[in-house]
Symmetry: C2
Subunit: 225 residues, 2 copies
DNA sequence: ACCTGAACACCGTTCAAGT
DNA sequence: ACCTGAACACCGTTCAAGT
């Protein structure tokens, strides 16, 4: 009888990470405590410190776990197409896992999965004709930009959204607030109230991605753009 | 004797915000507790809830206080020059106040000072020839990008930097780590180790700003760029 | 109108002690 | 090698009670 039924398997760092991911999905980053993660794996809080130096390190593991589900887009078409897809996939990834943007943005942990993604991006950028220095900077820019965007996107509009209010309603309310401003001191906010509160984040993101890609394109000789 | 010496002046929301700013500078965002802010103004923690709904609201006030010290650049030269300056000033602002990027990024609180900045930016963008929709999007892009960048910039490199280690040493160590990777699976990371660990954040930022401005420029007819 | 005491339900982390 | 009990020094927030 090789399998012993009544002893739980030894707690691994990986099991810990998976448990933390579940707690995160359930209670969000604010509700993610060492005590809850411990309970999730059926152990007391103090035990976690045998496997992990502190909460920071657990969050580092969590960051890499999030990155693990990233899938590079197919290597077809021009560099522009490929990095367009890269940006969209990265955003999707961050949006799909609760509070992922907040977790990832805080720390620059070069986990193994992130390294793989960087390697892949650099390879494509160099193949597209970017210089070594430009390629290195470009990966940085793309990462910072998408993270910054999603962070804004996910942040509750000043404690209002927390309630059941829909995105649409909030946008409308924001628009009303802009329109209600004194038109002599804020003429542009009043005039552009609709444009400023465009609630379709996909449209907004597409606009921003195109700008960044345009900016990178100027680094290449005209015929390679 | 119009001034009464032994009674402290009534506690205002503004005094509270200033106290919070001091605690923030001293102990960082992690060390910013309601109890410490209360102590800073010479009052008990429970008293704060008379002036402020909760900690979130105090953080909203803090966000606006940070924005209050933003100064729009002179209205000279082309739009590109002006927004180049805008980006650099915004980054400076976030770097100068401890953990400012973390505070600002979490929330989308449209405090009065942020409104003023938006109004000013929109005015310049429209004057430069951007369409209403493009101008609205551009302010969003610039904000998200700079915040994303500084957030990366300020984040400790995975719990290492917390110690006295210098930026230069960390970059060197990171470079060594890249070079130590297996060259057959990570050829690009190995080859670009130096470029990837360029520690001069000013250079990095300048590169990124130029890309974003280039991207926005493509929205204008060629003669207005 | 503004502040306090006291309590509630939590935190992260350490460390001697158990098995 | 791995886990626990118990403690330490904290949290945010509420609420009856004070002035």
């Amino acid at each position: 009888m090789p399998e012993n039924d009544d002893t739980t398997p030894p707690l691994t760092r990986d099991a810990l990470t998976q448990a933390a991911l579940r707690v995160l999905e359930r209670d969000g980053l604010d509700g993610l405590s060492m005590r809850k993660v411990a309970a999730e794996v059926g152990v007391k809080a103090a035990s976690l410190y045998w496997h992990v130096r502190n909460k920071q390190e657990l969050l580092d593991l969590l960051t890499d776990a999030v990155m693990a589900s990233a899938e590079p887009p197919p290597r077809e078409g021009g560099w522009r197409e490929q990095f367009h897809a890269y940006c969209w996939r990265y955003r999707r990834l961050l949006l799909d896992k609760r509070d992922a943007a907040k977790i990832v943005s805080g720390r620059l942990s070069p986990g193994p999965h992130l390294l793989g993604l960087m390697e892949d991006q650099l390879d494509r950028l160099r193949a597209a004709g970017f210089s070594d220095a430009d390629a290195a900077m470009a990966t940085y820019l793309l990462g910072a930009f998408v993270q910054g965007f999603v962070l804004q996107e996910q942040s509750p509009i000043s404690a209002a959204e927390v309630l059941g209010t829909s995105r649409r309603d909030i946008a409308d309310a924001a628009g009303d607030r802009f329109r209600a401003l004194p038109a002599d001191t804020f003429p542009n906010l009043v005039a552009l109230a609709d444009d400023l509160t465009e609630p379709d984040m996909d449209t907004r993101f597409e606009f921003c991605v195109q700008r960044v890609l345009d900016g990178l394109a100027t680094l290449l000789p005209a015929e390679q753009r």
